[in-house]
Subunit: 371 residues, 2 copies
Amino acid sequence: MSTPVSDFHAIIPAGGIGSRLWPLSRADAPKFLHDLTGSGHTLLQDTWNRLEPLAGPDRIAVVTGRAHRAAVEKELPGIPDKNVILESEPRDSTAAIGLAAAILARREPDVIIGSFAADHVIRVPHLFDWAVKQAIAVAREGYICTIGIPPTEPSIGFGYIKKAAELIVDGAPEAATVERFVEKPDLDTAKEYFADRSYLWNAGMFISRADVLLGEIAESRPQLYAGLMDLAEAWDDRDARGPVVDRVWPTLEKIAIDYAVAEPAAARGRLAVIPGHFDWDDVGDFASLAKLNSHGRPNDLAILGENARILSDAASGIVVSQTNRVISLIGVKDIVVVDTPDALLVTTSENAQRVKGVVDALKLSGRGEVL
Amino acid sequence: MSTPVSDFHAIIPAGGIGSRLWPLSRADAPKFLHDLTGSGHTLLQDTWNRLEPLAGPDRIAVVTGRAHRAAVEKELPGIPDKNVILESEPRDSTAAIGLAAAILARREPDVIIGSFAADHVIRVPHLFDWAVKQAIAVAREGYICTIGIPPTEPSIGFGYIKKAAELIVDGAPEAATVERFVEKPDLDTAKEYFADRSYLWNAGMFISRADVLLGEIAESRPQLYAGLMDLAEAWDDRDARGPVVDRVWPTLEKIAIDYAVAEPAAARGRLAVIPGHFDWDDVGDFASLAKLNSHGRPNDLAILGENARILSDAASGIVVSQTNRVISLIGVKDIVVVDTPDALLVTTSENAQRVKGVVDALKLSGRGEVL
């Protein structure tokens, strides 16, 4: 692909269970540890493989929960120990990305970081490469730069980024400033956004100088910033780290980076965006997973698992098969069947977003062992 | 209930897999070996329990395949050895019922037999009792008597019996002769039948003198009759039976008793019918099973299995759970989910009749081990 960018360091926050993909995705086998595209690799490996040409194998950090350490190290045998940043417990994205930024900034003050979710699907890697390189050029100018995806439909499943003026940066011909971040809209609003070409999907990618990102956190969330600084200072010192983590971690504010960093930066004209012309999906639910695996044939049933045991006349939908049972579907349309050894889900594409509610109900009903 | 009728002998043909109830019903666990009503008894036991007050425990014969001998004897510990009539291979209902009739007629020439399927569901036993007693009175007059069910809807899933003139028989105030037997009609025809009160559902029940039934077979199917006579003659002689079975069984014509006996008897005015005012269902498919287990609440999901592991907002339909997995249904209506250790079926009530097609497809695709 290309030579790594020498001052660039990638961060992969690998958190989140993916409740909308239950019972495929579980607390002990979250979304990023699954192969959801039939590529033969987990989403985490695919993410690593996309970033390696840009950052090099020694410059990709993964921020994950202690419970997933072994799985992450198994999936990514090339990752240096110091680049596995373990969270005591999840404190949302500002803490995860901010901590990695603070640790990396102490190791290398001028580093440019790029944060990319562990569980998104991206196709056409050279276009991803090109977008990140433009974003790095913009970040070098002191901006926090996102990558936004030109919408292909009026989705209500994603947040949106509204572009403002064109931004003149050498090496980033498509750069623009961002007017604002918008949360997942209703359908009418999504249709407006889709018609108005200045809205892009928020793919949760942030590229900036580490010190610029930390400066934004310092401005908007001074207490959280102080905690992250304390953690970073002790992090690379084996003796010091433990006590500081014990003291500071529980105090870290849980807040999404969109609110703590992107929105305030946009308001001050310090947020930029590069359009990403690659195929992107956050695989947010089974409807999305079905689409991703239907290979452009909308009337085909998508199958994750062994085809040979599935007898179906189903038009569209998805079957995820993790057992060796024969599965027979008759006369069902847009069906979602997820067959695992201890749990079975049957729903429809239309109801895919409601799967999270089942997870909540299972928690309440004391069935946590299948989550 | 009542004193058994001394010259009455019941026959329970226990054959048929119930392909439309796959994967609940299997070759090695056919419909009659399942508890489909939550009664705590299999359908075969329920059938036995209904007949015992009418015939007595020593006068109920079961005709079944060799493969089911052990299961039948386990389910019916009170059955005398000589009343388990084993088929070498299935040859349809005329051979099954005719053989039992021939064997019983040799043991007791004036016996009145009544044949009742092993896998139907009947509620309100005293009304069943009353109908059978009327039918026995009619049979004693030399008629072949059926019991027909007054339709509660224009079903296309059952055959129909058209009543003709009233029949004056002492002890059978509701007796009538039968004009004809009609196969499963289309919906328009079923609606006509439903509006015209002279049509009853054919519940596959036949009561007659054994010699009268055999006379009808002799008339309509002389070769089959000769075969049945040869078998019956040798049956109760341990040494003679084997060679005769080996020689004769493969030659027995496969024909339903409706064609070989009921239709010709009706044409000659020798078929009678008693209306059965009990609830009856042949549990022909999962739609029927759902209805049977919804306890009159049409918007309830019927559940066969352990409720506690099922999380559902499904309105109507049925879940059959034979594993200990958590089952979650979201936003699906009239759904049929049958969860067994080696096979899973997902369909809808509307498609319930099509389940048989899957069984055929599984046979063709070499997946016979799950049938």
